[in-house]
C-alpha cells in the first residue's frame, strides 16, 4: 500500500504556490466497501444501542463504543440489571471486548484501552 502521507505532504507544498488561499488541514482516507451480500437482520433498529465503556491507561480517560441494533442475545436476561447491561458471558460480547482491549485500539487521545468498566443498553422497543 503506497504511502499517501508523504505524497500528501509533498503535494501540500506544491498547492501552496498555486493558491492564494492557505491549506489548514489535510486528511488521507482509505475507504473500503464490504463486498459480500449481507442483509440486516429482521427487526434491526439502529436506535437500540449498547454502549461499552472502557478504562484506558490514563486515569480518568475513558473510551465509549456504541453498538447500534444490539442483538437481543447479547443483553443480560437475568438479575437486577436484566435489560440494562450486556451479558458478560455472551461469547460475541466477550470476543469483541477482548479484541478492543488486546488489539490496536485506543481512545481518541491515543490512550491504550485496558479494561471494560461497564456496559449500558438503550432500547426503544
Amino acid at each position: 500500500m503506497a504511502d499517501g502521507h508523504a505524497a500528501g505532504d509533498d503535494l501540500r507544498g506544491v498547492l501552496a504556490a498555486l493558491s492564494s488561499a492557505v491549506v489548514v488541514r489535510q486528511s488521507v482516507v482509505y475507504p473500503f466497501s464490504v463486498q459480500q451480500d449481507t442483509n440486516p437482520l429482521p427487526g434491526s433498529r439502529i436506535e437500540n444501542r449498547a454502549a461499552l465503556i472502557f478504562e484506558t491507561s490514563e486515569a480518568g480517560q475513558l473510551l465509549s463504543v456504541s453498538i447500534p441494533a444490539i442483538v437481543p442475545a447479547a443483553i443480560q436476561a437475568l438479575g437486577p440489571l436484566a435489560g440494562l447491561e450486556l451479558a458478560g458471558d455472551n461469547p460475541a460480547v466477550v470476543a469483541l471486548v477482548q479484541e478492543i482491549i488486546n488489539g490496536l485500539w485506543c481512545n481518541p487521545f491515543g490512550y491504550d484501552v485496558v479494561s471494560l468498566a461497564s456496559t449500558i443498553v438503550e432500547t426503544v422497543d
Partner: protein, 168 residues
C-alpha cells in the same frame, strides 16, 4: 506554520438496519499505526461487530488527519470561489478533475486559461502525472497528462459573503 497530526487515526464503520437507517461506529488507533496494519485489524473487527449487531456493515474508512495550528495569512483578495480547474487524462483515456480553490493570479491568463508553463502550475501537473507519482483516478488508473486547465467561479454561499457587506 506548524503541522500537527491528531493523536490517532480514526476507523469509521457504516452500518445499516432493516429500515435503511444508517449509523456510524468509530474506533481509534495510534496515528503511527501503518495503514496496512490498521486495515487488517479492521477486517477482523468487522466479523466481531457482526456478532453483536443486527445491522449489516456496509463500509469502513480509515482517516489520518493533520492540521496546521499556526496557519499563514491568506493573500488579500483570495477567494475560495475562484477555482483553478485542472482536468487530467488517465492511462485508460478517462478524465479526472481537480478544483484548486483560490487559484493564484499568476497562474491565470487574461482569457481565463491557466498557463501550464507557469512555474507553480508546472510543478503541480508534474507532481500529479510524473512516472512514479502515487496519484490515480478512483479506479487506481494512473493520471498521465493534463488535458485542460482554466479558471472557474462557483456561487458564493451565505457564509462566504463578506461580513461587512452592509453600508455603514
Amino acid at each position: 506554520m506548524a503541522w500537527r497530526n491528531k493523536p490517532t487515526a480514526t476507523l469509521t464503520f457504516v452500518l445499516v438496519d432493516e429500515t435503511g437507517s444508517r449509523a456510524n461506529l468509530s474506533f481509534d488507533v495510534p496515528y503511527a499505526t501503518l495503514a496496512s496494519v490498521a486495515l487488517a485489524a479492521a477486517d477482523a473487527l468487522v466479523v466481531l461487530i457482526q456478532g453483536v449487531t443486527k445491522c449489516a456493515v456496509l463500509s469502513y474508512s480509515l482517516t489520518y488527519s493533520k492540521v496546521d495550528d499556526e496557519p499563514a495569512t491568506p493573500d488579500v483578495l483570495s477567494r475560495v470561489e475562484r477555482k483553478g480547474v485542472f482536468i487530467f487524462l488517465t492511462a485508460a483515456g478517462k478524465k479526472v478533475r481537480y478544483s484548486v480553490p483560490g487559484i493564484t493570479d499568476a497562474a491565470v491568463t487574461y482569457t481565463g486559461r491557466i498557463d501550464d508553463d507557469q512555474a507553480a502550475v508546472a510543478l503541480f501537473t508534474t507532481a500529479i502525472t510524473e512516472v512514479g507519482a502515487v496519484f490515480s483516478d478512483s479506479n487506481g488508473v494512473d493520471l498521465v497528462t493534463l488535458d485542460q486547465a482554466y479558471e472557474s467561479y462557483r456561487r458564493s454561499t451565505r457564509k462566504m459573503l463578506p461580513g461587512d457587506r452592509r453600508p455603514d
